[in-house]
Symmetry: C2
Subunit: 251 residues, 2 copies
């Protein structure tokens, strides 16, 4: 859990932006936003947990204003549930919602590969190959890192389309998928098969868009299937009840 007792509490000097001219002012809100985002998708904050503004402000050494803004952003991304006059909670999607999220992801990834088929240049191909090699090496060693790298592969692919909105939506959806997997996923499932990634790249290079699309849809289906359908892993009582609680509170 991120905890930074910032000393500028008494002397707030928000404008300390001189060193790296290239970096475009990471405002405090963005920092808190990103930190919370990471904490959630890395399972440091479990679904359903309360996120009081005061607590977040104290943790990061800022005021509630910042926390509030970060929470608002996260709620738009679907990682946080914002209940009026009640407060913020780490999102706790139902199994059905989880399936819906994967449906959307499948469609978005399909768009990506259809756009990319036969359009990749040599540099891009080289970069993707490098990422796959890196993935493969890390795979057996560090599981959490492997998951992160797999997600980044999908995102990098999307970025190569040059379609900002597509990247934006895919990034959000991948985050949501991470959250869903922390709730319903089995603990030791390496989510992305690297072979499948390689096959997709092959099809993209060959310019076989439909083939790549089918492979990608199958690939996402695999991930979703392994996590959501096959094994209904026994959840803790707390998780089950909190899920029911949210359903009640919504009426």
């Amino acid at each position: 859990m991120p905890k930074a007792d910032d000393p500028n509490q008494t002397t707030p000097k928000p404008g300390q932006r001189k060193a790296g001219a290239a970096t475009k002012t990471p405002t405090r809100t963005e920092m808190v936003h990103e930190a919370l985002r990471q904490a959630i998708i890395e399972q440091q904050l479990s679904p359903g947990a309360r996120l009081p503004e005061d607590m977040i402000g104290d943790s990061f050494g800022t005021s509630r204003t910042i926390a509030r803004e970060a929470l608002l952003r996260l709620s738009v991304e679907g990682l946080v549930d914002l209940r009026p006059n009640r407060g913020a909670f780490v999102a706790n999607p139902t199994l059905d919602e989880g399936r819906d999220i994967f449906v959307v992801r499948r469609g978005l990834e399909r768009m990506v590969v259809l756009q990319l088929a036969g359009q990749l240049n040599a540099d891009q191909i080289a970069e993707l190959q490098r990422m796959l090699d890196h993935e493969e090496m890390t795979g057996a060693r560090d599981e959490r890192e492997a998951i992160r790298l797999a997600g980044e592969f999908h995102l990098r692919l999307a970025e190569m389309t040059g379609n900002k909105l597509l990247v934006h939506y895919l990034r959000e959806t991948v985050s949501r998928c991470s959250l869903v997997l922390t709730i319903y996923g089995r603990p030791h499932s390496v989510d992305c098969g690297i072979d499948e990634h390689r096959q997709i790249i092959e099809a993209l290079i060959a310019g076989q868009g439909d083939q790549a699309a089918d492979l990608m849809e199958h690939h996402i289906e695999q991930v979703a299937g392994r996590a959501l359908l096959e094994t209904r892993k026994p959840r803790s009582v707390q998780e089950v009840l909190s899920s029911y609680a949210t359903r009640i509170a919504q009426d």
Copy 2:
């Protein structure tokens, strides 16, 4: 332009929620957010226009806090451009970005019809038919209303999938498309052909998903094509320059 000189400026009583128990507390932020959203997609606020927090607060009789939150939400939706330390502007996407938006919309709409093919029940079919009739009647009379109804048709279709995330993304993308059309669209193009809508419904009822998907993609392509490719309508000098100005300011 929405302007409501709220008299509770001096005596702010935000909790006036008793009449309709069914309505779930439309908080001030949400109201301002929705009002601005409408103003933008209905062309009451032209792309590139400045949106100072103070001005918005004054217009709605609230503080900057509310305006700020609404602007943040709108920026996530892509209707507002938020430049750090500079302020908010009505989004002014480039032609390329506009095309990207339509690409995403095409993909999302494809997902919708694939989900829906052969799944519609009698009530849903009846409702859709009713909407189409209504569209057809309004068509010639009130152009702006016709455009709104056409958009609602697409959205209602999405809602019938029951996929919250899909609805969310499609709603955002439709809004963005409206904005793009206000910039690059020809003035008197009725964007959605009602016949095309009817054909799609027919295919959905018949359970021909691929057929419906093709029709839908073609339909969106039509709209995008009419607006973005065919006629490069001469834009006002102000619009052209403001677009250049933003490009310069970003470096």
